[in-house]
Amino acid sequence: MDKYIEMIRIRFLMMLAYRTNYYTGILIYSINIGAYYFLWSAIYGEKDAIEGMSVIQMSTYVAVAWMARAFYFNNIDREMAAEIKEGKVAVELIRPYNYLGMKTMQGLGEGIFRLFFFSVPGMAIVSFIFPLQFSADWTTWLFFAVSILLSFLINTQINLLTGITTFFLYNNTGLIRAKRVVIDLFSGLLIPISFFPVWAQDILRFLPFQGISYVPSMIFTNSFSNNEAIQAIIMQGVWVLILIMPIQVLWIIAKKQLIIQGG
């Protein structure tokens, strides 16, 4: 266990060394949130509420969805693809740790770093610029904390799955990009799932993506009742468990047919 915690720490320190990147990052995320804020304001126009969400709830949703993305988002799929392509994965496999576990921990180290140096200050800055609403209820914050951690796990698992496909496809930049686009739309980052037509919602209910952005953001904006929030969090937990299976299966197959292309 120690070595995994050490991995988190190393990645955290590595990110800290490059922290200047994040000042520009916050600025640009804020511009990003701003543009969506104006877009949604124009969409709301004179309307008070759409699908039970007021325009303030919507701006809070957009802000928290983006700032939470800084936490759960990572590029471990791309890192894995690069390591596999360059043949470095051979060395990684000899080392006395679980490669996938180690990647997850690196992602977590990155996530924790961005949570403190990106999401929290970013959220503070954004709340000065745009009218946002923060819940005073501590249960909301608790639910949000649990939910966002599960978001990280689901997103990371999907990244691991995408990364493993490099073993079979050898070059999967296209797939990685496709995955990112699908997640941005179907996770509810761009539009809350409740805005989709009913038939689309029925399909999305059976997919893991809404556990990434929609659930924590809805909890944060108080758009879920306590009951709904608990149900949604349980769904996230179930997805984390379900996703372990394809990862393990693919991983075992991948290791068997591993071809090192270089190194």
Binding site: N21, I28, I31, A35, I43, T173, G174, L175, R177, L185
Partner: protein, 261 residues
């Protein structure tokens, strides 16, 4: 002329390498299509809840998006410099580039081109035809020429901005995270700028002029006369921004000292 010959030789080489990983090529084209579809879905879902977006109808917004796709496709085919820092500065690849008798930026454009992105232009034109049909737009004989001019202008705007950002690497050696997120900002040019507040509108027009890639030039074809002036500024802004970026690049290259090794 030498440059044109080199260009086609690179294209031929490129085709050969891409055909090696055919499966990935198809996935990549598919993922581009998916990306374009996602944005259309966004527009369609949003218009399920409203009829007008800042005074623009659904089909007008879709038309703007279709237009945006064309210069964007050209840009993403030829200006893949988002990883310039890691690829050329940190790994010292720029040393190799600088020993050759062609302009360094042109070589990087050639080395990093992704011609499959050109499919985006096809999608864009298809989207424009669809939206134009439902809007009952008519095509006059000048339109194809202006379209060409505006598309090139839009591509140069994008290219200029990204080359300038790549140039940061000549002065600051830390990895910059501006690049990937600039792609997000670029997307805002495809919505009508009048929905943003005046500061953002100003930024999108004069600082990071992404509005000249989508909404401004597209307004001409939509017959929005209040924007015509901006439409015709598109090629000018494109040339100005791209020109500045080339100058920045050249002075950056002079500063380049190599990464060692």
């Amino acid at each position: 002329m030498f440059y044109i010959a080199i260009f086609f030789q690179y294209v031929a080489q490129y085709m050969k390498t891409r055909m090696q990983y055919r499966a990935d090529l198809f996935v990549e084209i598919f993922s581009d299509l998916l990306f374009q579809a996602v944005n259309l879905i966004f527009i369609i879902v949003v218009f399920g809840h409203t009829n007008l977006l800042g005074g623009w109808t659904r089909d007008e917004i879709i038309f703007i998006y279709g237009f945006f796709l064309v210069p964007y496709a050209l840009f993403s085919s030829f200006f893949n410099i988002w990883d310039f820092n890691e690829r050329y500065i940190v790994k010292g690849e720029l040393d190799r580039i600088l020993t050759r008798p062609i302009h360094s930026l042109f070589q990087i454009v050639l080395e990093r081109m992704e011609l499959e992105s050109l499919f985006g232009a096809v999608t864009g034109i298809a989207v424009m035809i669809y939206a134009g049909n439902s809007l009952g737009l008519e095509i006059s004989w000048t339109d194809p020429f202006l379209f060409f001019l505006f598309v090139i202008g839009g591509m140069l705007v994008y290219g200029g901005i990204f080359v300038m950002i790549a140039c940061i690497s000549f002065w600051a050696d830390a990895r910059t995270s501006i690049m990937p997120m600039m792609y997000n900002i670029g997307n805002y040019g495809r919505y009508p700028v009048d929905i943003y507040n005046s500061v953002i509108r100003f930024v999108l027009t004069w600082v990071l002029p992404f509005a000249f890639v989508g909404v401004y030039p597209a307004s001409y074809f939509l017959g929005k006369e209040e924007w015509f002036l901006y439409s015709f500024l598109t090629p000018v802004i494109g040339i100005v921004f791209f020109g500045i970026s080339i100058l920045t690049w050249n002075s950056g290259v002079k500063r380049y000292r190599g990464a060692g090794n």
